[in-house]
Every structure is written in structure tokens, then in C-alpha cells.
Homo-oligomer: 381 residues x 2
Amino acid sequence: MKVAVLGYGTVGTGVYEMLRTADGLEPGPVLVRKGKACEPFMTTDIGAVLSDPEVGAVVEAMGGVEPAYSYAKEILSSGRHFVTSNKVLVAAKGMELAALARSAGAAFLFSAACGGGVPLLHNLSVASGSDRILSVSGILNGTTNFMLHAMQSRGLDYAAALAEAQELGYAEADPTADVSGMDAARKILLACAVAFSRLPGEGVDCEGIESITAEDAADFMGRGFICRLIARGVPVGDTVAAYVEPVLFGDGAPERSVAYNSNMARYEGKNCGPMVFIGQGAGRYPTASAVLRDLSCILEGRREMMPEGCVSVRADNSRELHRYYVRTNGPIGDELPIQETLVSGPAVRAVTEPVSVRVMHDYAASVRSEGGNIFYAALEV
Amino acid sequence: MKVAVLGYGTVGTGVYEMLRTADGLEPGPVLVRKGKACEPFMTTDIGAVLSDPEVGAVVEAMGGVEPAYSYAKEILSSGRHFVTSNKVLVAAKGMELAALARSAGAAFLFSAACGGGVPLLHNLSVASGSDRILSVSGILNGTTNFMLHAMQSRGLDYAAALAEAQELGYAEADPTADVSGMDAARKILLACAVAFSRLPGEGVDCEGIESITAEDAADFMGRGFICRLIARGVPVGDTVAAYVEPVLFGDGAPERSVAYNSNMARYEGKNCGPMVFIGQGAGRYPTASAVLRDLSCILEGRREMMPEGCVSVRADNSRELHRYYVRTNGPIGDELPIQETLVSGPAVRAVTEPVSVRVMHDYAASVRSEGGNIFYAALEV
């Protein structure tokens, strides 16, 4: 099958290269921006891709909603298979594109949009046909894991860890999407759609790593914990709980072995039990390898990843309870029930009673809105 | 699709139960031994299964080569799909059954035969279409992992750990296949076939856990290591290195978090990089869930797991080099180059220079043939 590629950045170049040696696949035309078509196989005209009768599948690796969305509609309408690594596109338009693919008899797969090379969505999708998925979670952002690992293994402060991540090309010049947790939130949203047929379009609570300090790391590490940024989705009634927040792990947790910019994904099935995947969550070849696996699956007959009955929901995080490790620059208000005060003084460190994700994130927002400073992380017991 | 089940033991009952709620699947007749047909859906006649025109696929969960092999040939010849959890059958007859399935246009999948619920073979199979697999390894036997974990986390000696594993139903009355490493060897053999298209029928070196003592565990744990039983396969020239042996892991290795009877599988792809899977390697529902995932994949069009070009080879472990931690009840012979002696005296503990798997396993065999006692484990650096 000849496969066209839209975009020739990090992922697109990796996909093009891997297509040259993959079983049953060969590279077709590559769409690039005006003025960038420097090789015979490149084109700047989407029409040239769409009118090529040999192209059986198209990989989109441009990012963003437009023009990827318009192209995707044309590609699927023409009966061609569509594979994307673009989480923003799938989060915004995935259900619509899935319906279009279904009516055209074409495949729509997006493994690379969540977890990079870690095959979370594929395995979730296969498992959900016969097992009931009880939860899905993971370390889904390699940039923040690199920073947290650097802070905890080498004692760097936040600014130094960020600078190093930028120098190595892991973090963008504007790192907001990574450090705010938004990137991880978009990924867990896709995992919820695949695992639970519910795509939480709103209500996803999202705490990143921007508040963690070297002192925080020294304190909780002294108590035997390490910190990772975790995205999590759980079915709750007709909707899901879906959120991103730092979590502290004690001894024996596999999260402790997730170093540098690796990713980790977990799910728990009623029958298969807990399942853990660790691998490269980003980068040219790991991400391209996820795209190529989707294409190999299409050759075998696989068509769907977004379930037919998937609906958009508002996340409900009011029933997910955790104890939290909290550090503030002033006293902790009564809204947050404290189980144990670890350090008192102007900077307070404490562990809460079990409170909901909703309550904890709201409390932090209120502290910050009054100019206060707070770091918090759920305690994994 | 109606699915018949051969065998109603641990795995068969789990498969039957899961078939009742899986998308697109329903349970058909279940073949049981004479005198065991106590439910209307059971039969003791394989002819009743083979003559049922509604049965589209058959799951074999009986174990052993015969009569599973004869049944498999009849099932595949009739064009029905065949899914098995039987590693002995696949190791002995897998290539022949794959050829038969191919010519009949039927599927032959065996995910559950290696790693139980851990989706190693499925993911290896998908990845090998577009990526080059550089190595595959893992903790593929839950019984021995339970015993090693018990010895290292609670200080039990070997006999107490084995007794506990038997009491909990993890180990058979005759635990030889598990503790000798033979069970893990059969599984890595299947992984080599799927990953490298080479099935090592001979030459697989296999050291189990029978020689480890509580004193060994105390010694290497005091040096910062933990021990796991690892099966490993690597392409070497036209063949593979394939072996099972205890390995010591230092801080930060994900193997450290593999507790109780869990399994872990790793592979490394040229493009995807290192990949780790952790989950339940045995038990009714985890194993059944692997069978059900294969059946779901068949509904989507998947047919093959044993690659078409797979050949039988003799494993070559003469080029895989490791440093080994060695404990003997007497002096270590010159055949084994020693880098560092840790404890001298009648019982010697030492670390070797890098030596081949072949040399190490041969040396241990020679010590034992002379009535000596030896424990060894590769040092993962």
C-alpha cells in the first residue's frame, strides 16, 4: 500500500523513512509547506495527494486543527485510510472523523497521538472489545518527566531543569503546554474515549509541575517518595473522572523506574488485571513507529480506534478521593482537612485527609488567586 | 462469531465466561473429558465441535501436544480459526500449523502462550512488520518470580518459598518445569519465532532458581542488587542467542518493581527503542483475556502471529557476554576468569570477567557433575 505523508517535520520524516523498509508499505508523496519542496517526492499541493490513485492511506503529522481537519475529511471521503499523530485534531474532531471513516469504509487510527511509541491506545482498543477497563493512567508527557527526574536525581531547581530540557530539544521555547499539564490532559482525554467511549471535552482538572521547587523535592524525597506527573481517567456513572496532577510514589512503584523523558501508561481491566507499559513517549522514531504499527494493522484489516458509541461528556472529578501532600507559603485554610502537619512555620507542609480532586484543585486555584503559593501532589498508597 | 472451547480447566473456564460478554463473540460447545460433561453446553465428542457449522473459531486450552495437535489440524483444515494458550503445542508444531492456517485462510494466534495476560507476542508481531527487533527478554514465569520475591522481600529460604507458592496454587506439586526455567525457555522460544522468524528448537541454555539460597539473597541484596529469572533472545548471525538464567539488577531497573507472581516483558526495536510491559502472566482471567484479545483481532481481520518465513534454528549462546555473580562451595576453576573475589573461604563469592552464556552454563554443569554446588546470576549493568 502506498502511503502519503502530510508534514515533514520530526514525525513526518521518521514516518517517510520507516515506510521505505516496512512490510507491505511504501512511501508516496509528501506534502510540505510552500517553498519547502526540495525533493522529487515532495509536493506543496494537497490536490496532488488526493488525486493520486495509488495512495491508499495518508499519514497526517502536521499538528493543529486546520488544515489537518479539512484534509482529513477529504481523505476519508475518498475512501482512503487516515492515520494521525495529532492529538489536538483527534481531541477536537475525532468523533466526527470516526463517523466519516465508518461510512466510507476507511480506517481512522491515532495510536501516536497518545504515549508516542508506547502502544497504549492500540492495546486499550483491542482489550476493550472483551474486557471492562476500570481505569487508565500514566506518565504521558516526556518533557515534564525529564524535568522531574533531573530535579530529583540531580537536585536541579525548576529553572535549571527547564533550561536543560530546552537545550536538549525536549521542551519548546514556550513550554506552557508541557509544564501546565495540558499536553498530558489532551492525551488522557483520547485514552478515555478509547477505553470508556466517553471523551471528556470539559471539566478536566489540570495541575502541572510549575509549582514544584528544589526544596519540595528534597522534603518529599527525604520521606521516601518520588514525584511524577500523572494523567488519569476513571469511569464515574455516565461520565468519567479525568485529571492531571503530580503524584508521590513510595518504594516498589514502577513509576520510580521511569527516568529521563520516558513515558509510562497503565490500565486496569476487570479480567486482565493491572497492565503497565513503559517506553519512549516522543521523538522521531518512537512516534513514527507508532504510526507504522497502525499502518501494519490496517493491512491486516483493522479500521477503528474511536469506538462507535463514543460520546462527549463533562468530566466529574468530585468523587475521586486522594490524600495530598501540600506545601503553601502561609497557613492552610479550613476548606482543606489536614490529617498531619509535617512542617509548620511560615511555609507549611502537610498531608490532607482524603479529599476529592475537584476540592484540591479548587483550593489551589483560590490560594493562587489571592497571590499565594502552593505545591501539591496526590499520595499514591 | 461462535467460538468453541477445547478444555474446561483454569483457562478454558475463563475463556468461556468472557465469551459471554465480549463484543461480536459468543460461546459455542465446550469439549471436556469423558465423564465431565455436566452442563448442556459441554460435549465429550470433538466431532460435535467440528461438525457444528456455526463454530467459526476454536480455542484450545488443554495443554500438551496430543490430542491438541490432531484437533488443531482438523480445525484449521476446515477453515476455522484456531487460538491457543498452549506453549508446548506451539513450540513443537507451530510452524506446521501456521502453514496449514495460511493455506486454509484461517487465523492461528497464540498470544496467551507467552506472558499470560501481558501482550508481548501481539505487540512484537505488530511491531515486527515495520521495525527491526533487536532483543526480547523478560520475567516470563510468575511462579519463580513469586518465590524470588518472597525470598528477597521476606527472607524466606527456597523450601519455604516453594511451599508457599504451592499452597497458593502458583506452583504444581511437581514444580520442575517452573523452577528449572524450562517454562520460561519455552516462552522465549515463541517470542524469538515471532520477533526474529527463528525458532530455537535446540541449544537453549536454561538455568533456573533451584540453586539460590537465603544466604545468596542476603549477600547480593547487601550489595544493592535484586535477582529475577530472565529469559532472553537476541538475533546472532543466522540464528539467535536464547537462554534463561537469574540476573541481578541494580537501582532504577523496572525489574525491581515486578513483585509477587507478575510477569514483565521487554523488547527493543531499532525505531521504537526499549519497550517494557508488566502485568499478570498467569491465572484464569489474565490468560483468558489474552485469548479473547486474539479473538477480537480475528474479528478485525488479523490472521498471523508465526511469521511466514520462520525457520527452526539451533541457538548460539557463545557470543552473548555477561559478567556473572558466582557462589560456589569450593574454589573456582581457571575456566572462569575472575574479576573480583567478594568472599573467599570454603564458600567463594566472586564476580567474573565478561564470559559467554555458553561458557558460564557449561562451567556450572561441570561443577555439578563433580558433586559441587554453584549459584550464578548475570550482572545487569
